[in-house]
């Protein structure tokens, strides 16, 4: 008997546990771990570009542009097969986390840069007038003010990254979307599983975006 209905709740319920498990084990783990890497590495890149000697800053900028101008999928595959070629056995999920982290760090670096540039000149001048050291100026004055201005934009990149996590399936990590496809292939029913995947993404990103909007208001001086 061929099921011709558009929607069948039996299939929706049947696939739900696997989907939730994939959401927690892959989507959430990659998003959180890669966001942490991107946030820290992005700041490091922004600081190097602002403070390092010109040749060093130029090299960092060059690498950053290469990463941003090539697709994430290509980077995932390059990392996977590159590591295999040199005989390194790294779990695919770890590769996914690091590649996502580095990729998004290059975007977050620009957000930080904008935040640093937005710190008024008078703030820098006040640190000179108070004889503050370079290190203390960055730590106590510039970075805290830059972070405040950038937190919402960084949050929006986290949401983008979250929505791009299905790309991890190209390196054989079974995320929600891949789980939905596999279920579909087995049961010849795709619509329920893929809809659930979309709804789970929506259920997570919408509240997060609201949270970011609230954060934006709270952080205003």
């Amino acid at each position: 008997m061929i099921d011709t209905s558009f929607w069948n709740w039996d299939h929706a319920w049947a696939v739900l546990p696997d989907m939730l498990w994939a959401f927690l084990r892959v989507t959430l783990v990659v998003t959180i771990a890669a966001s942490a890497i991107a946030a820290v590495l992005g700041l490091a890149i922004a600081l190097v570009r602002r403070t390092a000697p010109r040749p060093v800053a130029a090299v960092v900028t060059g690498i950053m542009n290469v990463i941003r101008m090539t697709p994430l999928v290509v980077q995932l595959l390059f990392a996977l097969y590159g590591l295999l070629a040199i005989g390194a056995e790294v779990p695919s999920i770890a590769i996914a986390i690091v590649v996502f982290g580095i990729h998004y760090a290059t975007y977050m670096a620009d957000v930080y840069r904008a935040g640093i540039d937005a710190v008024p000149r008078g703030q820098w001048e006040a640190t000179v007038a108070l004889s503050m050291s370079r290190g203390r100026t960055w730590r106590a004055v510039v970075i805290p003010q830059a972070l405040r201005a950038t937190a919402p934009a960084l949050g929006n990149y986290v949401i983008s990254m979250f929505k791009e996590t299905p790309f991890v399936s190209v390196i054989f990590v079974h995320d929600m979307v891949r789980t939905a496809q596999l279920y579909g292939g087995e049961h010849f029913r795709y619509i329920e599983a893929i809809t659930l995947a979309g709804l789970l993404f929506l259920a997570a990103s919408y509240p997060t975006s609201l949270l970011i909007a609230r954060l934006e208001k709270r952080l205003a001086y």
């Binding site: 008024p120 006040a126 007038a129 108070l130 503050m132 050291s133 106590a140 004055v141 003010q145």
Partner: protein, 271 residues
């Protein structure tokens, strides 16, 4: 009576062994093709309160910024306590001094800005204690005690835990004065400190500065459009135009009996 000549070069005769607080020697400052200061020479004695007056663009603020090392002179030398600030002459060449030396020199100098420039991410107390604790390495408890004293002095004893954004412009400028004083500067630079304030709070800020002038021996270099304040606080006035000193003397001399036409024109324009 101190020996003092009214000159057009700004040179002042010092008593023997008297070390000037600030000395400009042939200082030139250019921004691109534009010469802001042209072979400027003057001396400020310790404890002097010198007001710089003159039309905007005459280089007054640039002088303060040079002393604070926010700008670097294109040529010439600036001495603080007879020690070079940023450059020194070696074998006939003008050599830049290291950042470490500049930082040491800077510690003697404080500045209050037109736009206050308080750190918005810190409380009032943190603004005042930041540099004493992290630059002068004073014990935190001592720095906090001193900050409270200073807040008392500027009339804001209950604002220690407020953020600058919660304060009015006049209050912010009073905190900025406290922040500068917390470093116990030998030289205090005041750059149009009332220009950004509402007229009704100008008086309270100037009142505090009058107290500072009366109760300390800090050397002051003041750029202001408040001629009455200049009269009250300063013991010397220098009139600038086109990056040069047009005329200088005591406030009485400059305000009541200016010798130069440009000074008379300027004073009649601002009063």
């Amino acid at each position: 009576m101190p020996t003092e000549h009214r000159t057009h070069t700004g040179a002042i005769e010092l008593a023997d062994g008297d070390v000037p607080a600030i000395r400009f020697q042939h200082v030139v400052k250019r921004f691109g093709d534009h010469t802001v200061l042209d072979d400027l020479n003057f001396t400020v004695r310790k404890g002097d309160r010198v007001t710089l007056i003159g039309p905007s663009g005459s280089g007054k603020t640039t002088i303060l910024r040079l002393v604070m090392t926010l700008e670097e002179a294109t040529d010439g030398f600036i001495l603080i306590d007879d020690r070079p600030l940023t450059h020194v002459e070696r074998e006939g060449r003008r050599v830049a001094l290291k950042e470490k030396h500049r930082t040491e020199m800077r510690k003697r100098i404080g500045m209050v800005f037109q736009q206050f420039n308080l750190f918005p991410n810190m409380t009032v107390l943190e603004n005042i204690t930041e540099a004493p604790v992290h630059v002068l390495r004073r014990p935190k408890g001592e720095a906090i005690r001193r900050a409270h004293e200073l807040l008392e002095q500027v009339g804001l004893p209950d604002k220690a835990d407020a953020h600058p954004s919660a304060l009015s412009g006049g209050q912010q400028q009073r905190v900025a004065i406290a922040r500068a004083l917390a470093m116990d500067p030998e030289i205090l630079l005041l750059d149009e400190v009332t220009s950004a304030l509402d007229p009704e709070v100008v008086g309270e800020v100037l009142g505090i500065l009058r107290d500072v002038a009366a109760n300390t021996d800090v050397t002051m270099l003041i750029v202001t459009h408040e001629m009455q304040f200049a009269r009250d606080v300063s013991n010397r006035v220098m009139m600038f135009d086109g990056g040069r000193i047009v005329e200088e003397g005591t406030p009485e001399q400059i305000f009541s009996d200016p010798q130069e036409q440009r000074t008379r024109d300027f004073l009649s324009a601002v009063s």
